[in-house]
Symmetry: C2
Subunit: 359 residues, 2 copies
């Protein structure tokens, strides 16, 4: 039991998600097998549900996995504040508390996104110098993966918030994608000088100010360029990011079901589809990569990872890997340095009142 290496503890909200605790715990089980021995998993949820799965179904190592009882469950349809404040003994709420109290280094949930974001904002503070958190997603591009943020944490973003997202996203791309100097692009319409809107013009100018020293700013990019790997970090406000993310997820599902329908239309097509079924399986994995099953909520004092509600055990395992990577690379310390430097550079020409969230 004694271990001189620093122990890493991951809190898991084991009751959230569409697939139920069985699938989440199967994901934890996979993660246990591929994680260092100094990793500990605390599963939050109803003991009578989780206990039998942990002990009998999965036979999880009790040195690495423990269960913390949480009688309540935040439903997938609950409203953000009601779900968190109204259910203080839910798996999500107690997991957030454990994170806040330093009992865990990172948290994973595939539960209600709105509640997780609201709960994180209420229970955890933002890192010093950061005004708003940002949800950061990883997407498949033509040649390699890229990150897009904010995917919906802050739908009222001011230019300075988008600049902070650029710093946060760059740090995340370094850890999650292994890039040394990830290229950052600001999402807009039309890349000519003067196109876009006021928020874009101001953000663009601030990003140019921190280019080189803190981020590697590649300039403005349009919607059609995001999948072409023109940049590694696409930044936009949470309103645009959330709509683009959901529209693209939905379009990708639509194309898959159109393809499925067309392939079943006659015997010839069915036969062909059977022969090339490996291609469809690979396609699915390329579009929805399991190794990037989680999206971190960046800018907080702790690492919070959101996995999709529909995550399977492989997505859960991928999301856990992301959480552990963030802890191991101590991304939060690097973010703190970068944000401090950003504020130093931007404060003189662009006075920002950090005390007020409405500045």
């Amino acid at each position: 039991m004694s271990n001189t290496e620093a122990r890493i503890t991951l809190a898991v909200d084991a009751m959230g998600g569409d697939q139920g605790p069985q699938e989440i715990l199967a994901g934890v089980s996979k993660a246990v097998n591929v994680s260092p021995r100094n990793t500990h998993f605390v599963l939050f949820g109803q003991e009578e549900v989780l206990g039998p799965i942990v002990e009998h179904d999965l036979n999880l190592n009790s040195n690495q996995v423990s269960v913390r009882h949480a009688p309540e469950i935040v439903g997938m349809d609950e409203k953000p504040i009601a779900g968190i404040k109204g259910k203080k003994r839910s798996s999500m709420s107690l997991a957030l508390n454990a994170l806040k109290e330093g009992e865990a280094d990172a948290l994973l949930s595939c539960g209600n996104t709105g509640c997780l974001m609201a709960g994180s904002a209420i229970r955890l503070r933002t890192l010093e110098g950061i005004e708003r958190p940002a949800l950061c997603t990883i997407w498949p591009g033509r040649e390699r993966y890229f990150t897009l943020l904010d995917a919906g944490a802050n739908p009222h973003a001011k230019p300075y918030h988008i600049v902070q997202s650029a710093v946060l996203g760059s740090n995340y791309a370094r850890v999650a994608l292994g890039l040394v100097r990830p290229k950052v692009g600001l999402l807009t319409i039309g890349t000519e000088e003067g196109k876009g809107n006021e928020v874009i013009h101001e953000t663009h100018s601030m990003l140019k100010d921190i280019d080189g020293s803190i981020i590697n700013y590649a300039g403005l990019i349009e919607g059609f360029q995001i999948f072409e790997n023109v940049v590694d970090v696409v930044v936009c406000d949470g309103f645009v990011g959330n709509i683009v993310l959901k529209a693209c997820e939905s379009l990708s599902k639509l194309i898959r079901s159109f393809l499925d329908e067309e392939l079943r239309r006659n015997t010839l097509r069915k036969t062909g589809a059977l022969l090339s079924k490996g291609a469809f399986k690979s396609l699915k994995q390329r579009i929805n990569p399991e190794q990037f099953g989680g999206a971190p909520l960046l800018g907080l004092t702790k690492n919070v990872i959101k996995a999709h509600g529909s995550s399977n055990q492989n997505h859960i395992c991928g999301a856990i890997k992301i959480g552990l990577d963030l802890v191991q690379h101590d991304m939060l310390a690097q973010v703190l340095d970068d944000i401090c430097e950003t504020n130093e550079i931007l404060r003189p020409p662009n006075p920002i009142q950090h005390s007020s969230p409405n500045s």
Copy 2:
């Protein structure tokens, strides 16, 4: 030559687009064959280029098709104002003039979008009571097609502009999709009361005010609902609309090329793909339907249709059909009525200064 029926004249910018005049004129030729005899096409472009194609290659009926010489061409990379003001004798510019002077009822161009929008704004006025034009696109949904606007004409939209888009889009959906009471949805993030941002809250309230009498307002919708045919008309500001449109177009191309790569990876897959090739062809047509090759710039005193730069002859023919439908259904008159009624309803509680475009 004498014809008692009202003659419809369509001006065609025959030099724009990526595929060259040959493809555009092939599209016109297809359209001539399926259009009423009272339809006349005026092709704007270099006489020495268009003449031989019209007379020899396509042998187009000279009673229905005429060529108007325009020595200059607006390039696909030119800046909006420079392309229009700097090239007064371009095919696009002269076609816009013909529309302005009443020599044509509608205009089709697959040239530079920015220049066409700027040129339309400069040369043509907006309909009385309308402040800004909106670009309206047709998208494939799970069960049927739907419209989305504004796709980029106005990236600084105020709530009132988005309300006008709802009225414009409803009228367009009636003509282009044949719907009697198209359902309108306002694109946002999260449909709970209070989610979204200020512009959304104000727009939502105004849309509720004109629900029933002028539009059929179904409320807020999220990005993942747009392809699910929850509504027939998706409204949003031009910044969001343009980014979503381009991201989705680009994602759809990416999925197609991933699929193509996967299907070529080994002989078994290649054989399967050959057998089911009909499915891939149908899929392409479902995702990029040729009958909706054009997007109208709505809200102007004349019908302006933008076709994609990469349009083939079938897309061109589809876009022409849209232009003719708008003229035949006299959509502009209906829009004028609806906007007048909208302004009557919204003016008392929401005083709007129609004289100033910055109101």
